[in-house]
Amino acid sequence: MKLKKITLAAASLGLTLAVTHAGIASAADSTTTDAKTQKLEEQIDSLAQQLNALKAELNQVKAQNQAIVAQQTEIATKVAAPSPMENLSLWGYGEAYYSQPIHDNSKSQADLARAVFGIGYRFDDKTTFNSEFEVEHAIASSEDAGEMEVEQFYVDHQINNSIALKAGLFLIPSGLLNLKHEPTNFFGVQRNFVETFIIPATWREGGIGAHGDTDIGIGWDVGVTTGVKLSGRDATTGLKAETALDLGNSGAGPLAATHQELSLANASNLSQYLALGYKGIPGLNVGASVFTGKAATQDPTVNLGGQRVTLWEAHSRWTPAKFDLSALYARGTISNTGAYNALTPGAPNPTPSAFNGWYVQGAYNVWQNTTYRLAPFMRWEYYNMGESFSGLVPGFEPPQAGDRSLSDHVFTAGLNFYVTPNVVLKADYQTFSINEDLSRLELGLGVAF
């Protein structure tokens, strides 16, 4: 019995203990739940914040998508809308000078020498039309020195990847300057004298030609064109020039006044040309060309035996590192000038049998970034518009007293500063060995686009 009581007591105690323990445990559980709730609340807050951030990001992405869709639509619209302007090209170039003779400031002149605009049209994948229209010296009228000229007007048709044909009024591929005569393409305010007097840049003729280039860098151009008409020269007036600017504009070169530019050109005799070039090594350009043909018949009643006019030249341009070096030699001949000059005995400006010129030029890119470029240069050139004559009155040799020498050495030093590759400011100083008083200081602005 006693044992039973003890057992009961123990059980009772155990129960009590258990109840007490349960009471303690219950209090502890309540504390934990509060903490958890707080933690959950914190987590919910954090999630809400994250959700808000995501919402903002989503809105941003949506806006970006809308912008991209708008851009795509704009592009699609641009691509889809056909325009008659699509096949049209417009371009242009021009140059203005200030030229100050060193010895006589009163003869300083400023001139908008050229303003040229080009229009091209692509008819299809193979056929294009190119034209250039030029106003020289700003105003072209009967009272002004200026001229309005069609400089190019031709159609080019691609036969295959290596041969194209052209027909119309186009540039003769002679020398370094003639095909690339925009002011951004040459050093110095003015074009050099050799490619003005000996090669009559901008030299163009009417005719047909074929041209092409190969992937080893050989280019070729061959054709048949109108040629020279000797009566274009005035034999009765010697070379007069008050300033170097006058000299450059004088048209004194043997071919300057005699090439016909497809202006009611006498086409009784045609000329032929061939030009070859090699550009297979980066930075190197070597080439040569010849242009030859009988001069247009002067007067069918007088038999002059026919004058063949030939001009050949060889040129090279090399641009190692920051240097730009070029050299050119050109020589022209006219056959049977004896008979021709005999028509105007003693005239001060006879037609030469031979004429020639050369230059060497070096430039260096002193400074260049993606926009600007500064390149000083030096050029030494020689021209002789009367290397030899025949049929002259014995004892007479041009120039006559009071006329300018037909030959000279000209040294030019200056710089080209490119504001963009399309806009160039130029300055140079030029001295003449024989016509010393022509030495000058020049400033120029050139634009090409």
């Binding site: 991209i68 851009q71 592009i75 690339k180 550009k279 297979g280 090594i281 930075g283 890119n365 260049q368």
Partner: protein, 161 residues
């Protein structure tokens, strides 16, 4: 790989031919992109060349390289060219696809295009400086050089990461 460029006067390579030539036997996946205004601004600032369109015509090779197609104006006609970059953005090859100008086609001379091989974003890529000019084809040379400078900036801005 539909033809992206229209048929031009002189097509030296079609798009498929250029891809086969520059990534022989490799699978190219179209990866063209439209850059955001910020990316366009970054490319223009980095290269000094204006982007005429935010669209970038790109393909990705399995080895991580890139085939990029671009058009530039020669004198006044479009030239289409392609650029092959390796996985680190270094130029492996440049090819001319289409050329429309009457003159200046000498840019397809391999020796001229080889000057670009090994260049990557950050190289000067200036004509008459680290890239030699072809006299008589100056505009084509300059515009291809600028185009490549632009495409390397596109790579650095939008494709490299």
């Amino acid at each position: 790989m539909a033809a992206v460029s229209p048929a031009y006067a002189v097509t030296y390579l079609s798009l498929d031919q250029a891809q086969a030539l520059m990534f022989p036997g490799a699978l190219l996946t179209p990866a063209s992109k439209i850059l955001t205004a910020e990316q366009v601004a970054a490319v223009e600032k980095g290269s000094g060349v204006r982007m005429s369109s935010p669209q970038v015509q790109a393909w990705r090779s399995v080895d991580g390289g890139w085939f990029l197609l671009d058009q530039v104006i020669g004198k006044h006609e479009l030239i289409s060219y392609a650029l092959a970059l390796d996985a680190s953005g270094v130029i492996r090859q440049v090819e001319i696809l289409d050329y429309r100008e009457s003159y200046g086609g000498e840019i397809r001379v391999p020796a001229w295009r080889k000057q670009f091989v090994g260049k990557k974003s950050g190289a000067p890529l200036l004509l008459d400086d680290d890239i030699k000019n072809i006299s008589g084809a100056t505009l084509s040379c300059r515009h291809i050089t600028e185009g490549i400078r632009k495409m390397l900036a596109v790579y650095a801005t939008a494709l490299a990461h």
